[in-house]
Structure formats: C-alpha cells, structure tokens
C-alpha cells in the first residue's frame, strides 16, 4: 500500500530556482528508505513536500491519499498528526522537560490528559529514556535529545517517520544508537524515510536508497535491477566533489 506518492513533482522557489524536478516515487507501508545526495540536491524539499510545508509547483504529492496541491490548511494539520518528523537540530523546547516536550505534541491535538501520561511513558521506554523524563533538553546529550525528538515524533503513532539528517549533529556512537532506534521503529511497522549524507549508514544496510542530484532523482534502488548498487553508496563519487 502506497503511503506517499510523488508523481512528476517539481518545486521551484521564486528566488531560489528549481529545487526539484520530475520526481516520481512511492513509499509503501512498513518501508525504510534513505534519501541521499549532496547539499542542495532536493532531499529536504522532498521531506517538506511530504509534510506539506511546501506545495508542489508541478505534479502532485499524495500523503495517505491527501493531495498536497489541494489540501486545505485543516487537512494539512490532520495529515501531520499521522506523520512523525525528526530534524537534525532536534527542535525541542528548551524550557520544558523531556516528557513535557513529548506531551506537547499530544496536548496541541487535544488528546485527553490520562492518555497523554500513558503514551508519553510508553514512548520514553521505547526510546530507552524512561528515567530521563524530567530532564531538561540541556541536561541531555545530543543523542538523548534526538531520542526525545524521536519519541515526540512517535507518540502520535505515525504511519511514516520523516527524519531529516537525524544523525547529522551526533558522534558515531550516538549515530549508531539513533539509527538502531529508527530500525526498531521500522521493524515495528512504521515506514521511515531518512535524509542523510552518511554513506556508511547506507552501505551497512540493504534498505531502499533514493539518490538525488541537482533536484533530480538519479537513482532509486527499488527501481534498479537487483545487482545494481547506488553509485554513491558503493564509493564516494560526485557527492564528495560537492561537499557541504
């Protein structure tokens, strides 16, 4: 079943030029997909189109059957309640505890208080931070903060977890931990789409890889013959010619 569907999608910014063109792919239930490519290749644009922060200039994006071109603001809000979004910079509220940050995602969608307590406890355990619920973000390590951000993304039981460079700010050990957590979440049935520059992560797994360059989808392992590997996943290539 297709949860996310891109069909000939283009995105142009009035002052920023073409960010994406002719992008077509689907993300299915329970799938794990990497989005990779150099900076400015369109990875974040694809993620923003999925959570409807941006609307396509041409083509269309459907998320859980809702068209990004036609969705009303209310529909966008409703779609987002079924998505979990994780960013490189965690985006936690610094003046609230870890559990308050997670609870916030439920409070603003009108979830009853007793259910909030129960679900916050559950996701804190799931991300391995049950004992750190009362800690403020600044009292946690980078890896722990990202786990809290993931817990906040999970608390609404999303069908897709969108992760934009979730390990970009983490050391290798924390990266491994956070990535394993994302794998566990995926194993439990949630689809994950993860933008990353980390080729080691991509090489270590057999997950689907979608590669972008200059706003074009240049490789999708789901479309490629079984033997073919993503060019940049095999060895550093043109990515490294255009570093951040």
């Amino acid at each position: 079943m297709s949860l996310v569907r891109f069909l000939n999608v283009a995105k142009e910014y009035p002052r920023g030029g073409v960010a994406l063109s002719h992008a077509s792919f689907q993300l299915h239930k329970g799938e794990f997909a990497f989005l990779t490519g150099p900076s400015g290749s369109g990875k974040s644009t694809i993620l923003k189109l999925i959570y409807m922060e941006e609307r396509p200039t041409a083509g269309d994006v459907w998320v859980s059957g809702v068209s990004a071109r036609d969705a009303s603001r209310k529909e966008v809000s409703m779609v987002r309640r079924h998505l979990g979004i994780v960013f490189q910079d965690f985006r936690l509220l610094e003046d609230r505890s870890a559990e308050a940050n997670i609870a916030f995602a439920l409070e603003v969608t009108g979830t009853p208080a007793d259910m909030i307590r129960q679900r916050v406890g559950r996701v804190l355990t799931q991300v391995g931070l049950a004992s750190k619920g009362t800690a403020l973000p600044r009292e946690l390590s980078g890896g722990e903060q990202q786990r809290i951000a993931i817990a906040r993304a999970l608390v609404n039981d999303p069908f897709v977890l969108i992760a934009d460079e979730p390990t970009g700010n983490l050391d290798e050990r924390a990266t491994r931990g956070v990535f394993q957590l994302l794998r566990d979440i995926n194993t439990a049935g949630t689809a994950v789409i993860m933008a990353t520059h980390d080729l080691d992560l991509i090489r270590r797994t057999e997950y689907r890889t979608i590669e972008l360059n200059h706003g074009r989808l240049v490789y999708d392992s789901a479309e490629a013959p079984p033997a073919e590997k993503a060019p940049s996943a095999v060895a550093p290539s043109h990515h490294d010619e255009n570093p951040i």
Binding site: M78, R80, H82, A105, E107
Partner: protein, 280 residues
Amino acid sequence: MVIREAFSAFKRAPLLSVLGVVTIAFSLFAFGLFGLVAVNIRDALQAIENRVEIRAFIADGTPVEASSAAMGDIHAFPEVLSVTYVSQDDAYARARKELGEFSDVFEPGVLPASLDIKLKPGYRDPTTVQAVANRLKSYDFVDDVRYGEDWVAKLYRLRTIATLVGTGLGVAFAAVAVIIIGATIRIMVMARAREIEIMRLVGATNGFIRMPFVLEGFIQGVMGGLLALGLTWATSTAISHSFMRTEFFDPALATAGVIGGAVIGLLGSTFAVGRQLRRL
C-alpha cells in the same frame, strides 16, 4: 489546554511577560496622562461655558405682567435652558455684591430690571447666542441685549482649538501606544517562534495555535490597562494634593481605558501570531 498554555507562558518567561505588561501599562499611562489633561481642560472650558448668559434689559415702566408673559415664550425657545427675572432691586443688590469696595457707586433704582437667559449646552456658540439675542431684541419692552460678543467668540474659538489639538494629540498618543505595544507583542511572539513551529509540525491547527497567544495578549492588555489606570489615578491624586484640584476619569472612561488595553493586547497578539504563522 489553551488557558493553561496562556497562563504558563507567564510562568515560563516571566521577564518577557512582565516586559509586555509594563510596556502596555506605560504606553497607556502616557495616553492616560494626556487624557487626564484633556478631561480637565474640557471641564474647565465647560465651567466657563456654563457662564454664557444673555441679559435682556427691560425698559423702565414695563408692567411686570408683560415681562412675565414673555418669560414663558422665551423659555419655550429650543435653545433656552432657563429664564430668570432680575428686578431693579435684585440688580442693585447684585451690583453691590460684585463691585465690593465700589458698591456705593450706584443708587437704588438706577440699574434696569432684566431677564437673564441661560442657554442649553450645545447652543452656546456665537451664532446661536447672537440669533437668540436678536430674537429677544424684537420684544417691545426690551431696551438692550448684552451677552459679551467678543468673550463668547473667543471662548468658542478656544474650545474649537482645544478640541482639534486634543483630538490630534490623542490620535498621535494612541497610535504611538499601539505601535509600541504591537512591537513588544511581536517580539514576544517571535521569541516563541520555535513553539509555534513545533505546534504546526505536530498537527495543531492555526486556530488552536493562535488561541493561547491571543488569550495571553488579552490578559496582558487587561493587566497593563489596570496598571496604567492605577498610575494615572496616583498621578492625578498627587497633583490634586500638591498643585491643583484635578478631575479623574469617570468610571465609564476608566473602564474604556482598560478595555482599550485588552483590545490592543488581543489584536496585537492576533496580528503578530498570524504574521508568524505566515512566515513559518
């Protein structure tokens, strides 16, 4: 959740919230001080205006019945508030009282009797006063009519200038207050841009996001309004005790001030959060 979020913002960022309330309070206080001056000038001019009077002198030998009958007619004029008959004796007594040490200048019976006519508020401008005076002159028994043309004209000019200057300054003060309060609320909303962004990303509707900010702006507006009212009252009381008696706002005007603060707070935060939502 909306009410709790609105109040918890005060707890989480007390300095910013106090800054908001104080800014609203001082902006409205400046406006309030101006209002206080305007109200007292208005009252002073009103008191002077209340003294506008037309005096129709009655010819000697006029029967009391004739002037009494005319009093009924004159009282029926739409502009007239009251008509008082002042006999020759009354005029003499009044003159002695008003002239003080020169009270012996007049002999009894020298001063003519008169009808003293006061006009209703709104009919004390030079044109109306002159029109009434001309109508009074048409009575046969009326010898002369006096109302201090120059004085009435000057008073009316002064009142017009005071109204124009007062309105202009009032609008300018109100605009400055709105701009300062608006900018402060915008800074406060921008300081919470991340919170707004996260609310949007987890699927809160724009209406839901706006509510705590709007409520918070309203509460700050009411608190700022009350503080401004207290400061204005304290200033007014201090001036009354130290320099001159001043009138404070009547309850309706005071309430309007607080409501004004609340409305500015509410609209300011509505616009600021709306702008922030469009930016994100």
